[in-house]
């Protein structure tokens, strides 16, 4: 009899079947893996990314600290703050404009009929505005102090007005000290002349807002919201 079990023919058939089945299973597993890797996995990644973005959007909406503040309130606040900044900008000079003070002092002397015998800049120093800026941050405000030493002569009343106007007509300026003494000279009308030695200080401020990370803004935001409300 042929084809009995135990004969090489039957064993060969069985081994072939097992090998074929193993190959088919392997191919199916490979195809399934490739299909999952090529189709499902990228989709799963995209969905995960989309979910994360959606969560971030929802969180941003739910954590909106200024949700109750209206646009009109914000615009009103911006207008108010802008006007404050503009007032300071108009009142002060920029650090690069300190030379204009010389002209301003000359103009005042001419206006009040005071003769400037000597005018001499006293030196400049940088002023620190607020806490020191961290690395990578830029200061909102950069200040500079400029001083002059003047020797003027004129009638007492004119000199007094000149001293006062140094504070009132030259913006953010201050008369630090002065010393008035009589002069031996007389004015044209025979009026006595005084000599005054005056020290002034002038504050120059740079208010140019810089884009990017600005010191103190994030902390001030909450306060601003409170203020706006």
């Amino acid at each position: 009899m042929s084809n009995g079990p135990g004969t090489p023919k039957v064993i060969h058939l069985d081994a072939n079947h097992s090998r074929a089945f193993a190959m088919r299973a392997g191919v199916v597993a490979l195809l399934a893996g490739a299909a999952w890797y090529g189709l499902a996995r990228p989709l799963v990644g995209e969905v995960a990314t989309g979910r994360a973005e959606l969560s971030a959007m929802n969180a941003a909406l739910s954590n909106d600290a200024g949700a109750e503040v209206t646009e009109a309130q914000i615009e009103s606040a911006i207008g108010e703050f802008q006007s404050r900044v503009d007032r300071i900008r108009n009142w002060t000079l920029r650090p690069g404009e300190s030379g204009k003070l010389y002209d301003g002092l000359r103009g005042l002397a001419q206006q009040f009929e005071v003769r400037i015998d000597r005018i001499e800049p006293k030196g400049e120093s940088v002023l620190q505005a607020g806490p020191k800026a961290k690395a990578g941050e830029k200061a909102l405000v950069v200040g500079q102090s400029v001083g002059y030493t003047l020797d003027v002569s004129g009638r007492f009343e004119a000199v007094a007005r000149f001293i006062a106007s140094c504070e009132t007509q030259l913006g953010s300026s201050k008369v630090i000290s002065f010393r008035i003494t009589p002069s031996v000279r007389l004015a044209a009308g025979g009026e006595p002349i005084v000599i005054a030695s005056i020290e002034t200080q002038h504050i120059c401020v740079s208010l140019e807002p810089t884009p990017g990370s600005v010191m103190g803004v994030s902390d001030g935001k909450v306060a601003i919201l409170e203020e706006v409300r």
């Binding site: 009899m1 079947h17 299909a35 909106d64 909102l140 007094a160 007509q169 807002p209 001030g220």
Partner: protein, 570 residues
């Protein structure tokens, strides 16, 4: 609900049968008679000579390819044995396996075996009941030949049942059923085997299978018709008709009118076959029954061979024992006396399906394993495809859903972002304004009204006071308050006809200073009298009232005006 139709293939040396069965009822049956002399040759050629016959039967019954078939077969290599042991069923089965293996030729691994307990006798006191185990063995290669035979015809083998084991098991149940109240001896007559069994009061006395059947009677008719006057002899189908129509003929009787075949032509061969029945039955009864029981024994005939007319009478005359057909009568689904039961051994399969012992060839189990594995692979592939498809579908839907939600939120996010930008702008402006104001105002500090202070001096001094030096500063010892340091000379004056001393003039001057609203305090620092002319030189320190500075409210500030005037001059 009607059961599914199944297919049965019966293979014996004399006949190839194909039938369909629904439940236990054979619904369709076709057969082809075979020459038993060609049986050995057919098996040696892997049953290929029978392929054409099987194809004819399949076409006749219009069976579809791939139909599952149960094969009941006679093969020269099948060994079947009923082992009776007074032991526990498990031990009895072990004993049957050992007994069967001892009777098998060659390596035991070349054989497929199956054992089953067919009956356990009622127990007697003190002794374990006798357990009757039916054991069957078939060569592996023969089982494979049979499976391949069916496979070549497009049939899938469900079970392969050796007919001997089926007949033996059926005969045991038949004799036990008949001897439930007393004693019975049954001779089951199949075409290829005869089972002689006896039982008493629920206990099986013996059961013996003899490889001899009524096909010997059929062969005697065929051979007799070929060797007599009949031209060419009878076909096996015609001989079958004669056997079951005429039965055991009498001398001088014409048994086939068409051919004129007479009883004398077939009786010698038939007598020889009948003699074999008689000898096997008598010897079996003599050896297996107790002394004295043989004389009282009555023999009942069953099986298809019991339908042969006159067989009972002939056997009774030669056995000298009462012989009759089994009292149960013929099978209602079978033929009546004098007609052949064409179902043959398939009748056993149809009547007692669940107790049949099957031989499963390794190829069938391998095929089942492969089918199971293939099915599992297909299911796994489908599940994987469904999972991946579902994953992709869910991913696509989730992605679309997220896109929709993001699109719905986008305007709000954009508006929120713009608003946050505006709020940040406001914060930046506020911080800028606060820092700048704080820088400028804190640096400037408090300031007096210098013009008013100096103007006040000319009014307050009067004629008696002559100032020679006026200086203004913010000395640290005055806590940075504005201070006027006045140096001058106090002179005596005449007032309303009297002379006012310089000291009094100085005191009055200081008093006026102290009372002036823009002066915080006035103190005499030093004084020195010039006795020659009654003058007093003095130094007076005047601390002024001061005001906190403020950023001018007007848009066009003084600085802007100064800047403009400067530009005009240029």
């Amino acid at each position: 609900m009607p059961r599914r139709e199944e297919t049965i293939l019966g293979l014996s040396p004399s006949c190839l049968r194909l039938a369909t069965v629904r439940g236990r009822e054979i619904t369709r049956l076709e057969r082809i008679m075979l020459d038993p002399a060609q049986n050995e040759a057919a098996w040696s050629k892997d049953l290929r000579p029978l392929d054409a016959h099987l194809e004819i039967l399949i076409r006749t019954l219009d069976l579809a390819r791939g139909s599952r078939v149960t094969i009941v077969y006679h093969a020269p290599t099948v060994a079947c044995e009923l082992v009776s042991v007074a032991a526990a069923p498990a031990a009895a089965i072990q004993a049957a396996v050992l007994s069967l293996r001892e009777s098998l030729a060659g390596d035991p691994s070349e054989w497929l075996t199956n054992c089953r307990t067919v009956h356990t006798d009622p127990g007697t006191s003190g002794q374990p009941p006798k357990v009757h185990v039916l054991a069957v063995a078939e060569r592996r290669d023969n089982a494979e030949v049979l499976a391949a035979f069916a496979a070549r015809a497009g049939l899938l083998v469900r079970r392969q049942i050796p007919a001997k084991s089926a007949l033996l098991g059926s005969a045991v149940r038949e004799v036990l059923a008949g001897a439930s109240g007393g004693k019975m001896t049954v001779v089951a007559m199949s075409d290829q085997a005869t089972i002689i069994s006896s039982a008493e009061k629920g206990g099986l006395t013996f059961a013996r299978c003899v490889d001899f059947g009524y096909s010997q009677l059929l062969e005697a008719i065929v051979r007799g018709s070929a060797g007599g006057n009949a031209e060419g002899g009878l076909t096996r189908e015609s001989a079958c008709g004669v056997l079951f129509g005429v039965g055991i003929p009498r001398r001088g009787q014409v048994i086939d009118l068409a051919s004129g075949l007479k009883a004398e032509a077939v009786l010698p061969g038939m007598q020889s076959a009948i003699q074999r029945y008689v000898v096997e039955t008598r010897q079996t009864l003599r050896f297996m029954l107790a002394d004295g029981e043989l004389a009282r024994a009555a023999v009942h005939l069953s099986g298809p061979g019991a339908m042969i007319p006159g067989i009972a009478g002939v056997l009774m005359g030669q056995l000298d024992l009462p012989v009759e057909r089994l009292s149960g009568g013929p099978d209602p689904l079978g033929p009546t006396i004098g007609a052949e039961d064409q179902r043959g051994d398939l009748a056993v399969l149809a009547s007692d399906d669940e107790h049949l012992m099957a031989i499963s060839p390794p190829s069938a189990s391998l095929r089942r394993d492969h089918q199971r594995l293939s099915g599992m692979l297909k299911v796994g592939t489908a599940v994987a495809a469904c999972l991946i498809g579902g994953d992709v579908l869910l991913g696509v839907r989730a992605g679309a859903d997220i896109d929709d939600q993001q699109a719905a939120l986008a305007p709000r996010i954009e508006a929120n972002s713009a608003r946050q930008g505006r709020i940040a702008q406001a914060a930046r402006l506020s911080a800028t304004a606060a820092l700048a104001e704080e820088l400028v105002l804190s640096t400037l500090g408090e300031r007096p009204d210098w013009l008013a202070s100096l103007s006040m001096l000319t009014r307050v001094a009067g004629d008696s006071i002559r100032l020679v030096e006026v200086s203004g500063s913010f000395p640290p010892e005055a806590k940075r308050h504005p201070v006027l340091m006045l140096k001058g000379i106090a002179t005596p004056t005449a007032s309303e006809g009297s002379l006012v001393q310089s000291s009094d003039s100085l005191a009055a001057f200081i008093d006026r200073l102290s009372k002036h609203p823009i002066i915080r305090s006035a103190q005499l620092v030093s004084t020195r009298s010039e006795e020659t002319d009654n003058f007093k030189t003095f130094v007076v320190s005047v601390t002024l009232q001061s005001l906190s500075p403020a950023v001018p409210v007007e848009q066009a500030s003084s600085m802007t005006a100064a800047r403009l005037s400067s530009e005009e001059r240029h």
